[in-house]
């Protein structure tokens, strides 16, 4: 590791990762929720703790009922870290445990986090989760752990990483093949699992990528857009 962490970083990053979620495709099946658990070693929270609101789901499917019976409609919306370009969770962290990486990911450095939970207060999407206790897996459930992802300790914040381990691997594979990262070659676990193919992940700095095209489409909106935090997750609204 060099002396200066800042100077070593590339001037302009090659990629800017983003996601599009098609609400017209999403069925609310929550395959994405479980896929994230499997990929990212999310802790299992026992019922008593779950009752206290401590369950960890890096991606959740918000559901809102609209109207009254019989004209009732349901709105499903998978919500994960929006990897805001102007992420309000970042400046408030006193120790730089959460910061923006050059490719636009909002990254969490567990070793650094002292557990003030300030970032969670300032995340408008409530997608940050805290390790209230040392995580525990009834043996041998831990054999399933993904070795690419660290298990988080008590007292630190965690959240969706856009499956940064898959991003890194995708870039490495492309580099070794001597080719640019192909559009769609990197798929976070949630995207990968979604039966309805409601989620698309890709490079927003490439105007030809699928996610860029979807983000430009007329159906694209962003959650709590008026806050101006510039989320990089685009929600494609249902259309007639």
């Amino acid at each position: 590791m060099g002396v200066s962490l800042v100077a070593d970083q590339p001037k302009a990053a090659e990629h800017r990762w983003g996601m599009a979620i098609d609400l017209d495709r999403c069925t609310g099946c929550e395959a994405c929720v479980v896929a994230c658990h499997a990929e990212n070693n999310l802790p299992v929270i026992e019922p008593a703790e779950a009752a206290r609101g401590r369950t960890v789901h890096w991606i959740r499917v918000d559901r809102y009922y609209e109207g009254e019976f019989p004209d009732v409609k349901v709105k499903y919306m998978p919500v994960l870290c929006q990897h805001c370009d102007d992420a309000p969770c970042e400046p408030v962290c006193p120790v730089y445990a959460t910061y923006h990486n050059p490719e636009g990911l909002n990254v969490q450095v567990y070793n650094r986090c002292v557990g003030t939970r300030y970032c969670a207060n300032n995340c408008p999407y409530s997608v940050r989760f805290f390790n209230f206790f040392e995580p525990h897996w009834d043996s041998p459930l831990e054999l399933q752990h993904n070795p690419d992802v660290a298990v988080r300790m008590v007292g630190v914040m965690e959240k969706c990483t856009f499956c940064v381990q898959r991003v890194q691997r995708g870039k490495r594979d492309a580099k070794e093949a001597g080719q640019p990262v192909a559009d769609g070659a990197i798929q976070p676990a949630c995207v990968q699992s979604c039966p309805a193919e409601a989620m698309v992940f890709g490079d927003l700095s490439d105007p030809e990528s699928k996610v860029s095209r979807l983000a430009e489409s007329g159906r694209a909106t962003r959650l709590l857009e008026d806050l101006g935090v510039k989320p990089k997750v685009f929600y494609l609204q249902k259309a007639k």
Binding site: R54, V114, Y125, V229
Partner: protein, 441 residues
């Protein structure tokens, strides 16, 4: 009013004052010992609870998602607020040459120091990993890792440490002449203690001038620091884009609230030491009277800010803010909100506003109410907002403090009492020399 509150201290011979003030330093009653043991035990229980929390994990408290801040932060704000009792008030009075301040200043300044020590502990207790709290401190290190100076928490840490340093100096400097006097009249370890702390004070003119200049300077500086401290505490909230936190009014609102609760705490402590240390002759009704006017003024200011805050939220009618506003004034938290209004406005307004009703007892009642009310105010700032983030799907059923949090909160009151008891046993609670040296205006 005037008639029943008018005795004066400056007619008393100075020796009698010194005798009265020094008596508690020499004589230790059983009542004192029992009290110390009692509050000591409670404070120790608090320490045990903290140890338990560190051992088991921060999860032993009631916090959850999204209520990530709760009891500890609320108590932090409360204690830092009360800390404004002392230094700030004493500085104001010093700068305005309010002669009646003399019996009050030391008691007040001591409050500040202890409140800051206790209040400053809360953010550390609150951490998920308190054992590495020092990551927040900017110290040179081989990894070139600095804290994030953009974070209000780092400003907070800086402000509180500065305020603590300043307050300790502000308490200590004017104590030096008294310490030198004490050193002459004591033996054994006390003598050693006082002599060391007196820093060789001889009472020369040069020294008196230097002290006076230092105190003037300190008074000015500490005023700025005190205002900024509570502004920064307010910014912990106001810098976040959470509904009803993100408000420009929070800085002054918090400062006013801090002074409000600070005066209340000071009045209460004055009433207590007046009674238990038999200082009726020095802490006169007129001192209470004057301070209570200040309390009354703060009460009106508090109302003004509270109305401004809530009226703009209500009128603006933004959905995310309305959720918080609604639960606060009409929903789940409404009983606490209206109790706060009664405590912070109705009671002091009536008891202090109507002259006939104003006496040390009603002033003390008002002060207790204000302390409760201001605690509730902090509660109403921290909880409803965090429990109602913009996306309704993230709301949970709420937050309930656990025995660990309640124990620690209660034990800090005991710790405060303990520190105060020890302080009053070691140092004169009234600045004796001020009576002797500084001519009354």
């Amino acid at each position: 009013m005037k008639s029943n509150m008018a005795t004066t201290v400056h007619t008393l011979p100075h020796d009698r004052l010194q005798e009265d003030v020094w008596r508690p330093l020499r004589e230790t009653s059983t009542r004192y010992v029992i009290t110390v043991l009692l509050v000591g035990a409670v404070a120790l229980w608090g320490l045990f609870c903290w140890g338990y929390q560190i051992h088991k994990g921060i999860g032993v408290v009631g916090k959850n998602r999204p209520s990530m801040w709760a009891f500890y932060i609320l108590n932090f704000v409360f204690w830092i607020g009360i800390s404004h009792a002392g230094t700030l008030i004493s500085a104001i009075l010093r700068l305005t040459h309010a002669g009646w301040r003399k019996p009050v200043t030391r008691a007040a300044e001591a409050i500040t120091v202890f409140c800051l020590m206790i209040g400053g502990l809360f953010p550390i207790i609150h951490l998920g990993r308190p054992w590495i709290f020092y990551y927040l401190i900017p110290y040179p290190n081989q990894r070139v890792l600095w804290p994030n100076f953009r974070s209000p928490l780092v400003w907070d840490l800086t402000a509180i440490l500065t305020y603590l340093t300043g307050s300790v100096l502000f308490l200590y400097l004017p104590m030096i002449p008294d310490l030198a006097q004490l050193a002459l009249h004591t033996t054994g370890w006390r003598r050693f203690l006082y002599r060391t702390l007196a820093l060789g004070w001889t009472g020369s003119d040069r020294e008196w001038h230097a002290l006076e200049r230092a105190m003037k300077l300190m008074a000015g500086l500490i005023l700025a620091v005190a205002v900024s401290v509570h502004t920064v505490v307010a910014w912990d909230f106001a810098m976040a884009i959470a509904p009803l936190w993100h408000s420009t009014i929070f800085g002054p609102y918090f400062v006013v609230g801090a002074i409000f609760s600070g005066i209340a705490a000071l009045l209460l402590i004055m009433a207590v030491i007046r009674k238990f240390m038999n200082l009726e002759a020095y802490l006169e009704p007129r001192h209470f009277e004057n301070l209570s006017r200040l309390l009354f003024l703060m009460c009106l200011l508090w109302l003004y800010f509270t109305v401004s805050e809530n009226l703009t939220a209500w009128y603006g009618n933004q959905p995310h803010e309305m959720q918080v506003f609604g639960t606060r004034v009409r929903g789940q938290y409404a009983p606490w909100f209206w109790l706060m209004v009664v405590c912070n406005f109705i009671v002091p307004f009536v008891l202090l506003g109507i002259r006939r009703l104003r006496n040390i007892t009603t002033i003390s009642i008002s002060s207790v109410c204000v302390l409760i009310g201001m605690w509730l105010e902090r509660f109403l700032i921290v909880f409803p907002t965090l429990a109602h983030p913009p996306l309704a799907a993230a709301w949970t059923t709420g937050y309930n403090p656990t025995w660990v949090e309640i124990s620690i909160a209660v034990s800090t009151f005991a710790a405060m009492a303990l520190l105060y008891l020890i302080f009053s046993k070691l140092f004169p609670i009234i600045a004796v020399w001020e009576y002797r040296y500084v001519p009354d205006e």
